[in-house]
């Protein structure tokens, strides 16, 4: 029931995001010759897909949508006057928070794997090939990066009340993080998830062929997983102490 509740609260955002990501992938593949010739002067199809999907517009849309999927929760329910009903359910607040987080992270994973399915499947229709393994690896990187961005929005929604305050704070924090993570002295120590999602933040990306080679950066992915789990736990602890 709690899973269904979390789904109903986020389904409009998720379905809109899924349609957009899938639709844009279809457009990028079907109109690749116009795209490659104009703004994305790419020599190869693989380069074009990398520039427009994994480094370009689609990555930016995905990052914003991942943030916005994280907002919501009990603080918003308090403003709507429904927090009382939710809190009378025979479940702990930690469970409520965990299930909302789990549903959101599942949606992020599904969104991450949409390009994995669409791009390699449709590429033969335009006489091109995009390796499934590449798409899958980028899907995993997007799932990790998207999860990180999701918990930023998630934590902001736990900490800040007020309509859209959490979303504004989450967008601001993410942009500030991007600016700081690009500083040369910070780059060595802090993962920039945008670079991770495009592969350029890893030693496994070959810029001359625009492909990921070798194993994925397990250290970076593990750190992100740790951050995501800790953030959800922190959100649960904060919610347990809040007065609704």
């Amino acid at each position: 029931m709690l899973w269904y509740k979390a789904w109903r609260e986020s389904q409009a955002r998720f379905l809109l995001s899924a349609c957009t990501i899938a639709g844009l992938c279809v457009v990028f593949v079907l109109f690749h010759s116009q795209g490659a010739a104009s703004a994305y002067r790419s020599r190869t199809y693989v380069e074009y897909i990398w520039r427009i999907v994994y480094k370009g517009y689609l990555r930016e849309i995905f990052a914003l949508l991942a943030l916005l999927l994280g907002v919501g929760g009990l603080r918003r329910e308090r403003d709507y006057g429904t927090a009382g009903f939710t809190l009378t359910l025979p479940v702990s607040r930690l469970r409520l928070v965990s299930i909302r987080a789990a549903m959101g992270l599942s949606e992020i994973a599904l969104l991450s794997f949409l390009p994995v399915i669409v791009i390699p499947a449709l590429s033969p229709l335009v006489g091109q090939v995009y390796p499934w393994t590449q798409a899958l690896e980028f899907g995993l990187l997007w799932a990790a990066g998207g999860s990180f961005l999701f918990v930023i929005g998630f934590l902001a929604s736990i900490l800040f009340a007020g309509e859209y305050t959490a979303a504004v704070v989450a967008v601001t924090v993410t942009l500030g993080y991007s600016v700081v993570a690009d500083r040369p002295f910070v780059q060595r120590y802090v993962i920039d998830v945008h670079d991770l999602m495009s592969g350029t933040g890893t030693h496994h990306f070959q810029p001359d062929v625009f492909l990921l080679v070798g194993p994925l950066p397990s250290a970076a992915l593990s750190i992100i997983l740790l951050i995501v789990c800790s953030s959800v736990l922190l959100a649960g602890c904060i919610t347990q102490r809040q007065d609704f």
Binding site: R13, T20, L65, Y80, V168, T172
Partner: protein, 229 residues
């Protein structure tokens, strides 16, 4: 009273955006060191790199979406619409006030870099031309009005709390994609490009954007008048 109501509903978002823009301005003039050949450049180059062609511009456009999320549909979801509708004012007046407060806030936010950058750069002993900063403020104001108006229209049309901003961001990205399509690129329809135009202000394009803004507001007003709240 309606003005105070609209202000109270949006002041937190306005304050956060103002703080973010101020932070960008301070960082750009006093601390920012662009990566690459501009690394040891003047304050003007650093301002251009971070503010007028960089992250601050995109941030301002993205956060303008949240200033535009108002309307009576939001109040219906919170079950306060009946109180607002009981006031002795027309729905158009309620909408007009929200739009007026939002546009005033956008004007203030657009002018913030316009005044703070010349002042801060003067403190850094490398003054940035005030008229140049004002030039960009005009462009930022008109372009952010379009974003604000579209977000407002979506907030009036859709009931979900976060569906309007999601739809708005998607539309902004799709607009940028379409504008970069070769046959249309020469018309420079991308809002981000318009916000960075220099040296001349593209008055015809700004007028077109103002007309589009008016159409969005007119649609929002029409929908609100017909809605069963």
């Amino acid at each position: 009273m309606l003005w105070i109501k609209a202000w109270e509903e949006s002041r937190t978002r306005f304050a956060i955006i103002a703080l973010v823009l101020t932070g960008f301005c301070v960082f750009a003039t006093l601390f920012h060191r662009p990566v690459g050949p501009l690394g040891s450049g003047s304050v003007g180059l650093r301002i251009h790199d971070l503010i007028y062609s960089g992250t601050a511009k995109g941030t301002f456009a993205m956060l303008s979406v949240f200033l535009g999320l108002g309307g009576l549909t939001r109040e219906r979801v919170r079950r306060t619409a009946m109180f607002t509708l009981a006031l002795p004012v027309s729905r158009l007046q309620v909408l007009g006030t929200q739009v007026g407060v939002g546009l005033l806030e956008l004007a203030v936010l657009s002018l913030l870099p316009g005044f703070s950058l010349p002042l801060l750069s003067w403190l850094a002993h490398d003054p940035y031309p005030f008229l140049k900063a004002l030039h960009y403020s005009v462009l930022w104001f008109v372009c952010s009005m379009v974003v604000f108006a579209f977000a407002y229209l979506l907030a009036v049309a859709f009931e979900g709390e976060y569906t309007p901003p999601v739809a708005c961001y998607i539309a902004l990205m799709v607009q940028a994609l379409i504008a970069s399509w070769a046959p249309l690129r020469s018309y420079r329809l991308n809002l981000m490009w318009t916000m960075a135009e220099f040296p001349a202000i593209p008055w015809e394009r700004l007028l077109t954007l103002l007309m589009i803004t008016f159409v969005f507001f007119a649609l929002a007003a029409w929908i609100t008048r017909k809605q069963d709240l």
